[in-house]
Amino acid sequence: EDKVVQSPLSLVVHEGDTVTLNCSYEVTNFRSLLWYKQEKKAPTFLFMLTSSGIEKKSGRLSSILDKKELFSILNITATQTGDSAIYLCAVEADSNYQLIWGAGTKLIIKP
């Protein structure tokens, strides 16, 4: 059965710290891995990764995919209180119009 596992489930750090969020997956016919940030309501798209070893970067956020070891990490450097959110990882496998979602990592940044 296809599955996506995120760790940790929750994380509390202080402003300025660097955090690494993990997403591992077991799916048939992997197509892509996506990261979303959910602050209050609608999840918003962060990154889509399809190739191993190519880092995607947006400001203080970056992400990389390892298709051999079947995981991705999302790094946030110099965290700010505005980074507090649930970070969701999802994997598209095969062509079935679905994303397989992880349970999310709840990140809390303390001032």
């Binding site: 996506l34 979303y36 999840p43 649930i86 994303l99 979602w101 992880g102 349970a103 999310g104 709840k106």
Partner: protein
Amino acid sequence: SQTIHQWPATLVQPVGSPLSLECTVEGTSNPNLYWYRQAAGRGLQLLFYSVGIGQISSEVPQNLSASRPQDRQFILSSKKLLLSDSGFYLCAWGYNEKLFFGSGTQLSVL
């Protein structure tokens, strides 16, 4: 640009009452549309998806149904709500593997 509207934002309904949540998309045609439910602070569970008018696929057996009467309209319904239907419901449309979400409906069934 594309936008997605979902309403209402909050809903409190008694057990056994009907439900209708509506979602509309603007700025695109023939989008793939999705209904998700999210448990408190957790990941998303796909309920329904649609690739075209009148085409609905259900992912989990449940007390809910979905309809797509128009190209850019997706409706989530129930004839009789259960306590277990409480949750946060998200509508989304998809493009090139990316999903764009509505602002969600927090449903409380009492």
